[in-house]
């Protein structure tokens, strides 16, 4: 006979996993629209200011949709810090306000590092990335 604590911990694990897993299809359904999703997503339980890192190759000529998914215990939106491959900070979406998703276009193909974090509170956060054919923005050379 196992102690009650064992079952409580087990129930907690199952609950946390299912909550974290449930948010991915919801966000996909709501925000992916006509972008293609390649099935990859990143999820993590973020506590005490923890962050999770995502390495991703972004191609020139495609438009990407970044969907940071979840809400912290303080109802904060998850945000993204975007770094180049040399770890120089390129953008922190927190400076741009809260949004359910961000679209991204690059003039050159790049490997970027994305840090997913909650400005306040803690909880499960996930990131989905979709892509579709894009148009070369004005002023960018079409080589």
């Amino acid at each position: 006979m196992k102690p009650l604590g064992y079952y409580l911990v087990l129930a907690g694990i199952v609950w946390a996993q299912s909550t974290c897993r449930q948010i991915v299809p919801i966000c996909r359904e709501k925000y992916m629209e006509d972008f293609s999703w390649d099935g990859r997503y990143w999820k993590a339980e973020l506590y005490n200011g923890e962050t999770t890192e995502i390495y991703y190759t972004f191609f020139r000529g495609l438009r990407y949709r970044l969907i940071p998914c979840g809400r912290s215990t303080t109802q904060a939106f998850p945000h993204l810090r975007i770094y180049n491959a040399n770890r120089a900070l390129v953008l922190d979406t927190r400076q741009q306000g809260d949004r359910s998703y961000w679209d991204l276009e690059l003039s050159n193909t790049q490997l970027l590092i994305i840090e997913l974090y909650y400005p306040t509170g803690e909880g499960c956060a996930a990131l989905l990335i979709g892509h579709r054919s894009g148009e070369t923005p004005e002023g960018w050379s079409a080589r």
């Binding site: 390495y55 191609f59 961000w102 690059l106």
Partner: protein, 307 residues
Amino acid sequence: MTVRYMVFAARNVKKLFRKVAVLSVLFLWSCRSGETHTGEDRHAADTVYVLPWEQLEVYMNAAPSPVQVATWLRQERVPFYKDMLHDPTLAGRYSGLQGAANLGIYLTDMAYAHATNHYQEAYEYLSAVNRLATLYGLGDIFSLERIKSLDKLQDNPDSMQKLLTQYYSEVQTRLSETGQQPMLRHMILGGWTESLHIILALLEKNASNQPLAEMILLQKGLTPLLIKLYSADTSLSPVSHQIVTQLEDMQEELNALPIGEGSPVPSTQVNKGVIQMKFQQKTSLTPEQIKRLKERLTSLRHFIMKV
């Protein structure tokens, strides 16, 4: 047997599980220590030990998927060269981890053929993919009905690409959820190797193509991540050890390449939720650099494809 690390609510529970996993590794490793590895079982399934998937998944997703590479190649309007691709008739000779790596190779060749509107060749690769996919319980994803639905979309490349993206997504999910992460890792390696092989082969024919050269330079950042992906079990798997050695050779050659001119930090604009990053870097590769890189990559590709 594989144990996959999951996201747990309680951090101390996570630590407890880690300890259990480490003990499992030691126990299973001790059971394997008496085994010898012959040439025949080099590519045998290495799923009998635990890998820290929670950490490895970070690196696993860094390489672009074959479909994403193909979408980009279509945008770049590259030509199609059948002679540089893998032989689809060899599909029936692969199994285990090697089969998974070759599944990644065939998926990439298929996506490239589709992207350049060579549907007959794409169909041949789809048959090879279907044959290997059945080994890993993925046969229904590339079933005859689905192949027919792809055929109907020949005049609509965007829809076809979307469907291929969906199939690739299903493959990844199925492999992850059925405890076949080592297969997924090999499939990603195979896809990465073949994508790079195609890009280098295209560059050999046209060294001045800057977007392709950019893609090669990008590997300076990606290859270390693939090395980390395979370094986790080099002491347990001779295959992983061999792959790490080959990747390190590749990295050495990549490190010798010059960094592109201009600032690596882009100018960034954000307007109504659209982020635009403009990089000023210019990249070019010489035919000699391309040749040396191709030699290193060919060694890894042959290791994967050898029957």
